[in-house]
Amino acid sequence: MGRTVPTYRQALEERLKRWDEFARLLTTPEERAAFETLRLGARRYVAQATYVGSPDLLESILLSVLLDLARRLPADETARPAHR
């Protein structure tokens, strides 16, 4: 269709394929499940990452993954103010 730049979704999937290579040498089911969590976290926030349109793909992926992990923390951990 003559698209100039791959969409964030396409770029993400491309990168996740590379991550698969990493995962092949994981040895425990727990590690593999945890790795799967990271992949899902990256995919969960495609809308937000697309909206930012950052030229830095990894920034968007890491931000998505971190947010996904942060939202899994217990509520009192996230609610605590940043500065005391």
Binding site: T4, E36, L40, R43, G53, S54, P55
Partner: protein, 776 residues
């Protein structure tokens, strides 16, 4: 036939005359309903733009040619990017049919760079309409060629001409399965309108011509006429020695050859097939199977599109909405005294890579949470992109214009400016379409109007919707005449900004966002006992943004479905039921054309079972019952008791049958069809029932629908799999998985396990884990 049209008539159509020098005006007298034919000499010019010396160079080289009638210099403003008139070369070919080939050789003489050509690929009828302020189905007064329309094409409420519509269907002789014509088949009977004609073949064909003359229909309506009825009529007429003079299906004799050959083509990743088309001058042939728009928009919608685009009804019926929109843009350009470039010659401007990444993005599409939710309110912006184009004056020539360096209208994040001085071609073309759509939509709801009138209005609304949808896509399409990629980007930027603004706005009134796709939002009340007023929310957003947000309705419950691959939600796969009891289904089997009757019936029963559930809790409570129903389906399928008509699988062929390298079900079906004398082209659909999917014999593996006798024994395992997949599609979020179902149903084949079950779907199964236990 030739004569002068009386005053007070409808202009039905303008066609090209075979003499190559004139067009034919077809008018229908208002009082007598008689149709008149008037031939008018008309050879429209095309224009060549270039440097003065290049034009001086070109002129003598054209003047001597046999295909050139006249070349002269004229002064006009060729394109939307020209701010003042300039001297150009006007070329008139000796025959209209030579326009394109002459234009091509001019282009070649200029090495494809020195000359820009205008008005080349508009047809002479289109140009005649525009040069004379006429349009298809215009009410006209006047005589002969001197007719004029009594109202403009854009008139919103008009009376369409009373068209005489007759159904045409040809039945072939002898035994035949489905619509597979035997090579030497004869025509046994022909139905035209209310009449059924039978008898010896030659008498039959002559009787058809007689019946056409007697009833004089304006429109012939067929199901598959381009592929079957018309070619067959002509083939048999030729075999019996009838000529065009004795056997004319139009209102004037014409050769039996198709005007446009059949072709397979690729669009948006799909291979499609379009049959040949046969011209019937003076009459329209609408083939429901060869028309993308006819099914959805109905005759009233096509008539409306013909009026606005100046394309013949036959063309509109067979073309895409994008072609209609382009024709409307061309019409708007010519009305403003501009001309239409032949090839788009506007390269994208160079940009830094990071800017490109920032600009080249689509709309906001969330990943929805998987599972059942409710109550949920749905809101949609009506024709969001066209409205943005109009409100923000987005058009190739108004974006980053030279006249408004300080324009306050800037695309968010990208900064592209819009002109504040003149309204662009795209907004000018779109605005009347938006006005019409709103007017027709409102009128279609007016219950005081006769049902027939409301159906007509609904047809027009649907047609306009399709055209408006394409208007956006064409901004970024490389072949779009007036498109410009930056417009496409700007529209998306405005749309993204809008959706981002709506999140806090929704939260302020007491909603939380469940899901959003580009121009649609699904919002759940934070406190379901006291939901916000959805209409008030829609009104306040519309007023604040100057874009029409509509409240679609409240869902009792809505289920967002996961992807098979990773288990996260898929933006466009969901099903839910509004408080009215009406369903909305996206991306599940029943919405797809290739679904078997079995799956359709299964989904209908499942949905009926869940319909009355007032909310998510009651939905979950019905899961055990749903599983028992699925078991019931499975035991019938396994017993071999399901009627084979409901097991027909449709498959669109992507390549020629000899190009397949693996032996698939469709290859087996194609081989059998070929042997029966019916080859299929890429883009056509093959339908078959699976008899034994493990068989290596193409006869034993499947049976094409056309060759079904009714007594076939189908492959139960193949259909258990299909059933299990359908059940997983609907109930996957609640822990129902394909392999589990197959084991439960005593499936004989090998169960392909999914590579993994994602934590997301596993978590959901735990939450809703009652399902499988309850049904055991």
């Amino acid at each position: 036939m030739a004569g002068t049209p009386p005053p007070d008539a409808w202009l039905l159509d303008i066609t090209e005359s075979p003499d190559g020098r004139s067009v034919v005006l077809w008018t229908k007298e208002r009082t007598t309903a008689r149709v008149h034919r008037t031939a008018v000499e008309y050879r429209p010019p095309f224009f060549v733009v270039g440097a003065r010396s290049d034009l001086d160079d070109l002129r003598p080289r054209l003047e001597g040619r046999a295909t050139v009638e006249r070349v002269r210099r004229v002064v006009l403003r060729p394109s939307i990017f020209d701010h003042r008139p300039r001297s150009v070369l006007e070329v008139i070919p000796t025959r209209n049919a030579a326009r394109r080939s002459l234009a091509r050789s001019v282009d070649e003489l200029g090495g494809f760079v020195r000359y820009t050509l205008f008005d080349v690929d508009l047809s002479p009828p289109q140009l005649y309409h525009l040069a004379h302020d006429l349009y298809p189905f215009a009410p006209v007064v006047g005589h002969g060629a001197a007719i004029r329309a009594t109202e403009p094409a854009e008139t919103v409420h008009y009376t369409p001409p009373p068209l005489v519509v007759a159904r045409l269907a040809v039945t072939l002789d002898g035994p035949h399965h489905g619509r597979l014509p035997p090579a030497e088949g004869r025509i046994a009977s022909i139905r035209l309108g209310d009449a059924t004609l039978e008898g010896p073949e030659e008498d039959l064909l002559r009787a058809l011509v007689g019946e056409l003359a007697r009833t004089d229909p304006d429109v012939l309506l067929t199901d598959g006429g381009d592929a079957l009825d018309l070619p067959w009529l002509y083939r048999r007429a030729a075999a019996l020695g009838l000529g065009p003079q004795e056997f004319a299906l139009g209102r004037e004799p014409v050769g039996f050859r198709p005007a446009r050959a059949a072709r397979s083509f690729e669009t948006y990743g799909r291979i499609l097939y379009r049959s040949a088309t046969y011209p019937l001058p003076g009459r329209f042939h609408l083939d429901r199977e060869n028309s993308f728009l006819f099914d959805d928009a109905d005759l009233a919608g096509l008539v409306d599109a013909a009026r606005l685009s100046r394309l013949s009804l036959s063309t509109v019926a067979r073309q895409s909405p994008g072609t209609c929109f382009t024709a409307m843009e061309m019409a708007e350009a010519l009305r403003r005294g501009l001309h239409v470039p032949w090839k788009k010659n506007r390269p994208e401007s160079f940009r830094r890579a990071d800017r490109l990444v920032a600009a080249d993005r689509g709309g906001v599409i969330f990943v929805p949470p998987v599972g059942v939710f409710g109550p949920v309110d749905e809101f949609d912006f009506a024709s969001l992109f066209p409205h943005i184009m109009v409100r923000k004056n987005l058009s190739a020539e108004t974006l980053e214009c030279r006249c408004c360096p300080a324009s306050p209208i800037r695309a968010p994040g990208l900064g592209y400016r819009s002109c504040t001085r003149s309204v662009g071609l795209i907004p000018r073309t779109l605005e009347p379409l938006l006005t019409r759509r709103i007017a027709y939509k409102a009128a279609a709801k007016d219950l005081s109007l006769p049902a027939e009138e409301r159906a007509r209005l609904t047809g027009r609304v649907k047609m306009l919707k399709w055209i408006l949808v394409t208007a956006f896509g064409y901004q970024g399409y490389r072949n779009a005449r007036f498109g410009r990629i930056e417009c496409h980007e700007a529209i998306n930027a405005y749309a993204r900004e809008l959706l981002a603004d709506l999140i806090p706005a929704a939260e302020r009134v007491g909603y939380r966002v469940v899901h959003g796709i580009v121009d649609s939002l699904w919002l759940a009340p934070t406190d379901p006992a006291h939901p916000p007023d959805p209409n008030a929310f829609a009104r306040s957003v519309s007023a604040r943004t100057d874009l029409p947000l509509g409240y679609e309705g409240r869902y009792r419950w809505i289920v967002f479905l996961p992807a098979v691959t990773h288990g996260l939600g898929v933006p466009n796969r969901y099903y839910g039921v509004y408080e009215s009891g009406e369903f909305k289904l996206r991306g599940i089997g029943g919405r797809r054309h290739d679904t078997t009757g079995l799956v359709r019936r299964f989904e209908t029963e499942m949905l009926d079972l869940f319909r009355a559930a007032p909310g998510p809790d009651e939905f979950r409570a019905r899961l055990p019952r749903a599983l028992r129903r699925a078991d019931g389906f499975a035991s019938q399928v396994r017993a071999g008791a399901w009627p084979v008509e409901e097991l027909v699988i449709s498959h669109r062929i992507g390549q020629a049958s000899d190009a397949f390298v693996t032996f698939t079900d469709s290859v087996a079906a194609l081989r059998q069809l070929e042997q029966a004398g019916a080859s299929r082209q890429p883009g056509e659909v093959v339908r078959y029932v699976v008899l034994d999917r493990t068989s290596r014999s193409f006869r034993e593996r499947v049976r094409p629908e056309e060759l079904l006798t009714g007594g076939e024994r189908y492959d139960p395992d193949a259909y258990l799999e299909i059933l299990a997949r359908a059940a997983e599609t609907l109930l996957g979020p609640f822990g129902v998985a394909r392999d589990g179902l197959l084991e439960r149903w005593g499936y004989g084949g090998r169960v392909d396990r999914d590579p993994y079950r994602s934590p997301e779907s596993t978590a959901q199964s735990v939450l809703d884990g009652v399902a499988l236990d309850g049904a055991g």
